[in-house]
Symmetry: C2
Subunit: 424 residues, 2 copies
């Protein structure tokens, strides 16, 4: 008997665990049972050891509640180092690779009492190589999105209430949109990425997936060293900018409709809705993001390339070989454009409680067609802004879809509060 404890959100689960209304072991067993039922179709996990998990859970039950994440199962994207589990990056070069060290965020989660549950599937090195084997839990014919494929699917399918992912282009927000879960990518620099495979150091950001905004806040409280009291954004007086973004032409009908409907409902509830057209400088940012990401990737995969390039996906080899032919002069210019637009966007965003914009062109494509487009995400990764994916309500039988709530750099708490108001 497990009573479907795996269905609780993280916030619900930590409250029950703290009050000892459920045991760590019972929650872990519920999650493991759900995984046992679903994993052969979903393929969210690259490593999971039920015996190890139950041993840890029993130890936690004996030791008793320890705030604030006591006993909470959390999955870790398999590009982050874990002391007690292998880290394999979905790379043939790292089969059974197992250095005994925790990434910084894994240490912080353990210190907060979390139960590190296992490693979630990723695209090769969270980059453009081999796709994760993970399927969209809403329909196995479809992609869950990448590169944090397993982290998004594991939360969507109630394997665990929370997971850690990473984003350089669209690796958190895209799969969150396709899987219908909440995700938060903090401002660049707030969470220490030490122990994550580096792809693009000027943009790589750790983030997390959950099944409510409260769950995103729960981890923000632990991982942000400056987490102050949450501000309150009232839905009825919120100022929300609707930003179709310079890549609006990529938006499909469901995304257009979702943004319009969300704006309409907010307006009906009293919010001020302002159409935001970004200055022309922003039109090149999708290209600038790609140039920086692939140029920095040149150094990031050099050691793997020299080790054995036959074991690297051709797309990753192409980064090291700079097959796109980017020059360092272009990279320098790209850095300067990015920096200029960061400052510009902060000033623009200061007028609003949040900026609402698409997360993906539409719902998930078929698994055989790749992991979907990051075209709506790259700009925000480049601008370093905090991004929340909020799922929108869909008709029965339709695949999920999300919208992005963003704001100025370091407005993480305000952006989370705005997301809370928007999903009310």
């Amino acid at each position: 008997m497990t009573n479907n404890l795996e269905q609780y959100t993280a916030s619900q689960a930590v409250a029950l665990l703290k009050e000892k209304k459920i045991s760590v072991e019972s929650l872990a067993r519920s999650c493991l049972q759900r995984i046992a039922e679903r994993e052969s179709s979903v393929h969210a996990w690259s490593f999971i050891d039920p015996e190890h998990i139950l041993r840890l859970a029993q130890e936690m039950d004996r030791a008793g509640p320890r705030a604030p994440l006591y006993g909470l199962p959390i999955g870790i994207k398999d590009v982050l180092l874990t002391d007690d589990m292998p880290t394999q990056y979905n790379s043939a070069l790292y089969e059974n690779f197992h250095p005994h060290i925790d990434a910084s965020c894994v240490s912080l989660l353990r210190q907060a009492g979390a139960l590190i549950f296992g490693k979630t599937e990723t695209a090769e090195f969270a980059s453009s190589g081999n796709l994760a084997p993970t399927r969209n839990p809403h329909d196995f014919l479809y992609t869950p999105g990448g590169s944090s494929s397993g982290s998004a699917a594991a939360v969507a399918d109630c394997h665990v209430p929370l997971t850690i992912g990473t984003q350089t282009g669209g690796s958190m927000i895209r799969p969150a949109s396709f899987c219908g879960v909440f995700a938060f990518k903090p401002t660049w620099g707030i969470v220490n990425p030490e122990g994550a495979k580096i792809f693009s150091p000027s943009m790589d950001t750790l983030g997390w997936f959950g099944r409510s905004v409260d769950d995103l806040v729960l981890l923000n409280n632990v991982l942000d060293p400056q987490a102050e009291t949450m501000p309150v954004v009232s839905r009825s007086s919120a100022r929300i900018a609707i930003c179709k973004s310079p890549v609006w032409s990529h938006a499909e009908a469901p995304t257009k409709q979702a943004l319009e409907q969300c704006a309409h409902q907010l307006k009906q509830d009293g919010a001020s809705i302002i159409d935001l057209v970004l200055p022309e400088e922003f039109n090149v940012l999708a290209e600038v993001q790609k140039l920086i990401m692939l140029s920095e990737g040149r150094a990031s995969f050099l050691a793997q390339y020299r080790e054995d390039k036959s074991k690297l996906h051709p797309n990753i080899c192409a980064q090291v070989e700079n097959s796109a032919g980017y020059t360092r002069k272009q990279l320098r210019e790209a850095y300067d454009i990015a920096a200029h637009c960061r400052s510009l966007f902060d000033a623009i965003a200061a007028d609003f409680d949040a900026v609402l914009t698409p997360s993906t062109p539409g719902p998930a494509p078929l698994y055989t067609q790749g992991s979907g487009s990051m075209i709506f995400n790259g700009m925000w990764s480049l601008l370093h802004t905090p991004c929340v994916n909020i799922p929108v309500i869909r008709q029965a039988g339709e695949l999920p879809l999300g919208l992005t709530v963003t704001g100025a750099r370091f407005s993480d708490r305000h952006t989370l509060a705005a997301a809370h108001a928007i999903v009310q």
Copy 2:
């Protein structure tokens, strides 16, 4: 009998090793003998295992030459992970810490045939905590500078021909100046810092120490994925900007004199010498660098702080606790000022083959007075520019002193070529 092989520069040693005129083992034994004679006074090494080194050396001799660093002993700053050695960060939290994983640059060095020799002493986490126990090999009463104290001293004292260090403020160029060795801090982003303790991710840069500009180029060839043919800068037609920098008031008489003499000699040899006064915007950069470094340090040491703050130096606790009271608004503004000045400096530097500027206020202070000031280095770390420390000629009995050769971002090869011309 070891014939003082440890006195060879890296470039000399690799040529002799390649031609099998010396064996890897004989060079390793010479280095080990020198270390045995000097280490009890210099304290450059936090870990060294002679038996392990000799085993590796013998294997290399059996396997035969493998370009381009075959058999070359290289020391690694003890904030970088090494598969076959502990990594201790000069921190009580990491005594005997030994995860089995190589930092990216260590992998690249091994792939190039280098003999990873041992771990060099560092200030705690390459930050502002406990000083390294290392002494200046020119006079044990004096500091070698920090934070890459052991790496600079080991090269200066001929323990090994090359070492790896890191710089966030002045952690490479300052000790190079105090120890009288060459050092190179590449443009930010060129060398993958994966596996190095993160202090300030927007500025942390790996670099290396050697006993000639050629030695710096040797490693640049291996670690820079885009290393093209070296340009040639002719001393007699070089355009060199003399930059007293906005912190010139900190320069002591020997530094003033060194810069003047170097400029004078270059002029005599036909170089064009231009006095460069930077725009007013640059006056705040020393403060901006400090604000970013300490603000980013807040996240970087959070896990260690929560693990056991009693084992962290108060200066590092102060970063996590933000005792300076920096706001995130200030941090955002600091990022924007830095980005603006990066672009501005690149445009200024484009008119010159190199910019020549002080490395330190003067020679090394006494060991008991700390590891010296980074006031002349922070700005360049912030601006992401490539920096070479070149030692200047001093009177017998005087402690060493260096000057910095720098240039626009990504002018690494040109800056090294200019440094070569300047030291001729």
